[in-house]
Symmetry: C2
Amino acid sequence: MRISELDTPVAIVDLDRLEANIARLQAYLDAHGIANRPHIKTHKIPAIAQMQVSAGAVGITCQKLGEAEVMADAGLSDIFVPYNLLGPARLQRLIALMRRVTLSVTVDSAVTARGLSWAVSHSDAPAPLDVLVEFDTGMGRCGVQSPTEAAELAGLIHSLPGLRFGGLMTYPFNERTQDFVEAVRALLKPEGVSIARVSAGGTPQMWRAHTCPAITEYRAGMYVYGDRYTLQSGAMTLDDCALKVIATVVSRPTAARGILDAGSKVFSSDTLGLEGYGLILEYPQARFYGQSEEHGHVDFSACPRKPEIGEQVTVIPNHCCPVSNLFDQIVGARGEHVEVVWPVAARGRVQ
Amino acid sequence: MRISELDTPVAIVDLDRLEANIARLQAYLDAHGIANRPHIKTHKIPAIAQMQVSAGAVGITCQKLGEAEVMADAGLSDIFVPYNLLGPARLQRLIALMRRVTLSVTVDSAVTARGLSWAVSHSDAPAPLDVLVEFDTGMGRCGVQSPTEAAELAGLIHSLPGLRFGGLMTYPFNERTQDFVEAVRALLKPEGVSIARVSAGGTPQMWRAHTCPAITEYRAGMYVYGDRYTLQSGAMTLDDCALKVIATVVSRPTAARGILDAGSKVFSSDTLGLEGYGLILEYPQARFYGQSEEHGHVDFSACPRKPEIGEQVTVIPNHCCPVSNLFDQIVGARGEHVEVVWPVAARGRVQ
């Protein structure tokens, strides 16, 4: 079957580009001796995770336990969940997962560390659990705020039953990351505690990972697909973008306006600071200025030719990760030829 | 099971409020002789659609054929799809659906009308198909722009094999709707074409539907659940809000900041013009200022008491419809008691 025969909206992955993107980052990280642990939140598809591991990734990263469970079911065996896991239901699932795969997690508080320790040491899970300390070098999300806090938490983890201090984790990395890590290392040295892993992440800055020698492991997600945001960051080119959405122009109510059959239920409302909701390849001057759930609102006034009703257009989304989460399946194509249809097996795993 | 025993993030529907919301709009529309045809895009759950029909709705509204197919499978028998349906794959599905339920659709162009006519008259579907003309009285999405265009398109539908002109449709309605409809009626009178239905919609303005006497049918979606947006519109109160998301505070990296285990993968990035991403009931002064996919970023600095790590909070989302689409299941509760878990059967139906 050819792409043009598919009903729209449909999400298509160009398999040649996907494979090239996977190979390119692996080669870069290999060349710099950095372990590759890609974040599967972008694709949520076990087959792509397996491609990443086959290419040389040491394991994968999942943001929620539910994603990790799906990946474990599919045979992925080394999974990092860089998330504060709390509460009896979740800790029970963590223990179950520890029995099946090599698992590591992060914490940024003593409360969370003590909860993990309690759960692991009151179970028959294959202890110890590797626990990394998340630190914040500027994003302002989770993470301890200072090397002193990081060292204290590392010391606590080191002392708690069932846990092993696994190193440090941050997202994204920046010019402060190196000094932060070295300060923690210095604080931990007298205690005899070493930092096994320093895990950093982020697709926009991935080609600079080697400029921060402290980094031992890299987590990139979006690099497999690419999107308007990664294009703008300069980390990928339009020819690298593997994910596109085909939509149909269903209405041309005015001379300028065109309405697509894909809105926020397909593209999400993420702007990531960009103007508009996507890049329309056939009409690069078009302004995708608005969305409702099932409609994309496009201004074609700057385009020399304007689309007919019924015409299909190709859209590069702002942010590829939520697009994966919004589709039950993704079509893998080589050129115009549909080669595979993947269920997005780990989509919707909010817990 | 009690709500507090559920893992988070979890979406909860208060069944008492849901039932009251369904009854309240039905009573209002009944009192004004307006047919109720609720939009199921908000909940995407057949059991709730059945509650709406049992309460007196004449049928339901779905935004995509895929939603209509799920609802038909569940026994809903009168379905309106106010969408321009184009292309062979979609028209084939339309024909299949016409054999199963009473179906009506909209168009805003001759191209779309002719496509429907061709598909219906080249099939054994139980013709005619009721086709309404969508008109635009200000939203600037789909819809013909003038009464003249509307009348011309109505005339075309009237003349095309397999179709029956079913009336007019707009979203939302406003102060121009009445005059627009009457102008079309005057233009069609000499042709002997009458306007069987005038279908308007929108939850924020639902209690004003009777002020536009032309309206014969009303499509509201969000009224079943309510959200921050409908609160702000004044159409519902906080005590009417039936949908809430329970999340856990998983990090307190600074004195002011708290991070929830629910971000844009739960709430969507829809702001609908509102500040922030949700209302936290236990901390009304909190500012839910940011999101990443799996994290909610909250500033608790204005709150006299601040949450502990591990504490659960209750969030009223900005926009309930995408929240439904992001959850595979929704928990129905009466008070604190879980009564039912509904699969969101029509979620993710992008086609």
